[in-house]
C-alpha cells in the first residue's frame, strides 16, 4: 500500500443520484465484497483519460459478486456546469458501465458531503474498502493499472 494503512470503517456514502444500478448502493450492504471508489469530476482531464477507463475495465474484469466499483462524482468546483444532468449525458457518451453516484452537495461549502467525510484531496482519488468495510487505501492521484490490480487482488483473497 502506498501510504499508512488506515483501518477506520468507511461511513456510508451520501449521494443525490445513482446511475448504472437498479438502486442506490449501501457500503454496509456490500460487506463481503471488495469496493473500489473512484472519485472524479467530469471536467477533470486526468479522470477522463485515465481513471474512468481504468474503473470501467476493472469492473469488467471482475464479477460484481466479488468486486464493486463505485464512481463518485465529487464536484468541488464549477458546480454550475457539472450538474447531475450533465453527468448523465457524460456517462452515456463515454459508455461507462459501472455504478456511479453523484456526491451530495454541501449546503454551506464547495466540497460535497462524502468527499469531505472521506477527506479526499481532489480528483482523481481512489479509495479501497475491504470485505469488512474498512478503508485500506485512500489515494489522491492516479495509480498504475498493475498497482491497483495487485492491491485489489490482495483484498479479494483475504
Amino acid at each position: 500500500m502506498s501510504q499508512p494503512i488506515s483501518f477506520s470503517l468507511a461511513s456510508e456514502l451520501e449521494t443525490c443520484a445513482w446511475f448504472n444500478t437498479a438502486e442506490a448502493l449501501s457500503l454496509y450492504k456490500l460487506r463481503g465484497k471488495v469496493i473500489v471508489i473512484s472519485a472524479f469530476q467530469m471536467l477533470c482531464p486526468s479522470c477522463v483519460s485515465h481513471s474512468l477507463p481504468q474503473a470501467n475495465t476493472l469492473q469488467a474484469l471482475h464479477p460484481r459478486s466479488q468486486l464493486q466499483i463505485i464512481g463518485l462524482h465529487t464536484v468541488f468546483e464549477h458546480h454550475h456546469v457539472m450538474t447531475v444532468d450533465a453527468l448523465q449525458v457524460f456517462i452515456h457518451e463515454y459508455k461507462l458501465k459501472f455504478a456511479i453516484a453523484a456526491d451530495q452537495p454541501s449546503s454551506n461549502n464547495d466540497i460535497p458531503v462524502t468527499m469531505r467525510k472521506l477527506e479526499l484531496k481532489g480528483t482523481p482519488s481512489i479509495v479501497l474498502i475491504d470485505k469488512q468495510g474498512r478503508i485500506r487505501l485512500n489515494h489522491f492521484g492516479h495509480l498504475h493499472d498493475l498497482q491497483l490490480g495487485s492491491l485489489v487482488g490482495r483484498l479479494l483473497t483475504e
Copy 2:
C-alpha cells in the same frame, strides 16, 4: 486529399461566443492564411481524446501568421448541458490554447447554423480552407497526424 476537392468559397462563420482570441475571427479577414476548422462537442469522447489535442499541437507548431486553427463547438445534441458556460470551463480545464468559437444555435433546428452551412456530418470534423478562402477538405472523423500535417503543409506552400 481523402475526398473530391471542393473549391467552393467558405461562407462566414456564425457564432455566439469566442475564446482564446481578442476578437471574433472572420474567415474573410483571414485570407492569406491557411485555416483549419476543428468541429467538436465537449461531450464527444473522440474529440476530447484525439481531435482537440491534435488541434492544440497543430497550432503550437505553426505561427498564427501562417496558420489559424479554429475550434468550432457545434452542439447538435444534449444542448441543455453543452452550454457556452460549460464550454468555457472545459477550455480552461483542458488547457486549450487555440481560438475556439461556439456555433450559433438554430432557432428551429437541433443543428447549429455554421454546422448546417458547412454540411458537417457530425463530430469530430475537420475543414481545411486555403489562403484564397476555398474549402479544400471537409472530413468527418479523425485524421492521422501525419495525414493532417501533410495536407496542411501543402496548403501552406501554395
Copy 3:
C-alpha cells in the same frame, strides 16, 4: 483465471544464461515467493511493446522478497540472430532490470527445452507460479495490466 487451473508443480527451468541476477535462479529455491515467468523473444513486436515493459514495471512495484519476475527468452525461430549475445545487448538497450534467462536450446528441435516442458504455445506467454511452486496460470498472449495485477495480488495473499 482465464483457463482451467492446473495445480501441477512447475519443474525446474533449464537455461543457458542469466542476466540481472547474481546467480542462476531456481524455482525450487524461490518457494515461498510468487513467481511470474514472462516468456518472450527479442524480435517479437508484441513482447517488446507490451509484455516486457509490463514485466519490468511489475517487478519495480513489488519487492523481490515477495515477487520474482523471470523473463525467459524462448527462441523457437530465427535462432541464428536471436543469440545470447544479441539478447545481452537488447537487455542493455531496453534498460530491462528484472531477472532474465535464456532458455536452453534443444539438440534436436526448434523449441527450446523449458518452453517445451511448460508447453508454451508461443510468445508472449505468462506463467504464474504460487508460493508452493504450483503453476496457477499458463497464458498465451498478453494480459491487461489490471488482470495480471489482480491475479498476482491474489497469489501474494494466499
Copy 4:
C-alpha cells in the same frame, strides 16, 4: 524547419543491402520526388517504438511516385549483433513495408559510411531531401507526426 536550412546536395547513399525494393535506390534517380531518410538501429528503442512506425505510416499515406521513404540502418555500436541477417528478420517480424537499406560499414571506423557523410549525430535521425536533391532538414531525434507531416507536405508542393 527546426534548424538552419542547408541547401547542400545530398550525396549518394553507400549501402550493402536493400529490402522491400526490387533494386537499390539512387538518390539521383529519385530526383523529382521528395525523399525522407529515417536513420535507425534495430536495437534503438525509440526507433522501434516511434520512428519506424512513423516511417511506415508516412509511406502508406503517400504514393511512391511523389514520396520515397528510405529506412537507413546505420549501425554504429554493437555491430556483432545488428547484422544484415538480423535486420532482415527484424523487418519481417515488424512488418515494415517501406524501402530499407543497410548502411555500408566503414573499414576503419565504427560509424558507417553514409551516416558519416550525412553527419548524423545518432539514431533516430530524419533527413528530408527535396525534389531537386537538396538536404532541407537533418534532424537528430524524433519529430512529432504533425511536424514531420507539415514539413513533407510543404516539400511536396514546391
